[in-house]
Amino acid sequence: MKSRHAEPAWMRVVVAVAVKDLRIEFRTRARSFTMAGFVVLVGVLFNYSIDQTLVRPQEIASGLTWITLILSGLIGVGRTFTIEARDGAFEGLLLTPAPRDAIYLGKVIANFLLVYAIVLLTVGVFGIFFHLDYGNHPLALLLCLAAGTLGFVALATLFGALTASTSLGESLLPILLFPLLVPMVVYGASASGRLLAGRPITEVMGQMRMLTAFAVLALGAGAALFGQIVED
């Protein structure tokens, strides 16, 4: 029973927060259902927004996927902290001696799994809607989307916590987030676009590296600054 009174090990906090968030999501299914419905319906709207006599949907599918990732991610991540604002649940979490960066990383992991699941759904649905054949390196495509999702979630979780305690709420999130997402969209859409077009993997290595650098930088900055946001 020694560990009960000791300061909770950092890694255990990360896992506990991630599991807690995922359990809430699993029981309510509130975010996953709305996000899933969102991406399918966005696919439908995209289909009717493309005049197929002018442009082939396959050519712009990569860009559409990244935009859908961002918009559906906003719906999901934006709510992370508003859910917990009720009944002072998040204040309770902050009253524990849990390190702030561990709470942040736990939330990032939970949000990542949620958003990435939706990204996979998006790729599947768009694949059916727009007849994509996923190129020669489907694994690299999934990896590239994973790196992008991680960078997005790292920033969105940080700014989600920030906007949740402002009077403007989630409507402020795009203003803060979108300018910073430009590198992710530039490298991500290029890499996945080329992979979808069947180009060799060597052609996207540079973009993949930049996407990873973006994610690592976002995670580091988020972990370092999260404490400043949640402190009263």
Partner: protein, 226 residues
């Protein structure tokens, strides 16, 4: 105007205004006309110094924000806010003078020229910085939030810069007339340098004066609270 910083601010701002007038005189009466671009090139002497100040101001915002989060010193936050407001003004100058020049030199108000894009995004990061400050119940929290936005923005700007340049290399723009060679005529360089000094002085002076306003407001808040 009590205290030394006030007079320094006034002196710098006045020197900036005087130098700006000198810059205008040089631009309109002294410097030679660019033989390829013609008269429109003269906007360059205001545009480039404004861009330099806009980015320098953001550097100050980020540094002062980091100091504020680190030491919790109110003065650092006031400096960051003053630099951000000044920076926004000069960003606005860049974003109006750039497209005006572009319309004549490139034939379009807007292209995805990387520096133009970067400045637009910088402007939006400034907007986010200002909005966050005013959107919290406790002003202290708003300052911390703004500092976080300022720091993350500064970390991200080099990445944005790299990515928009890289994107540009994918799409060479056919209408672009390459604006400036690396070699600039001596009188052009001179005018540009005068402009740079003028805008830097103007910005520094205005920032100091703005800082003093913020400090006076802070002192008033404390007096009213007690």
């Amino acid at each position: 105007m009590k205290g030394r910083t006030g007079w320094i601010g006034v002196a710098l701002a006045l020197a900036g205004v005087a130098m700006s007038l000198v810059t205008l005189w040089l631009v309109f009466f002294r410097v030679g006309t660019d033989f390829r671009q013609g008269i429109v090139q003269r906007i360059f002497y205001l545009h480039v110094p404004a861009a330099w100040v806009a980015f320098m101001a953001f550097g100050i915002v980020a540094l002062a924000s980091a100091v504020y989060l680190w030491l919790g010193d109110e003065r650092a936050d006031m400096a960051a806010l003053s630099a951000a407001e000044g920076g926004m003004v000069f960003t606005a100058i860049v974003l109006t003078s750039g497209p005006l020049w572009g319309k004549i030199a490139w034939g379009t108000y807007w292209t995805w020229e990387p520096r133009l894009t970067l400045t637009l995004l910088l402007g939006f990061i400034y907007v986010g910085y200002m909005m966050v400050r005013r959107a919290t119940e406790s002003p202290e929290r708003g300052k911390r939030f703004a500092a976080v936005v300022g720091i993350i923005g500064a970390i991200n700007i080099p990445l944005i810069h790299m990515s928009v340049y890289w994107f540009r290399s994918l799409h060479p723009d056919p209408v672009v007339l390459k604006p400036d060679g690396p070699t600039l005529d001596a009188d052009m360089l001179q005018t540009l340098l005068v402009g740079l000094v003028a805008f830097t002085l103007l910005f520094t002076g205005l920032m100091i004066l703005r800082y003093r306003v913020e400090r006076a407001r802070h002192a008033l808040d404390i007096r009213e609270a007690t």
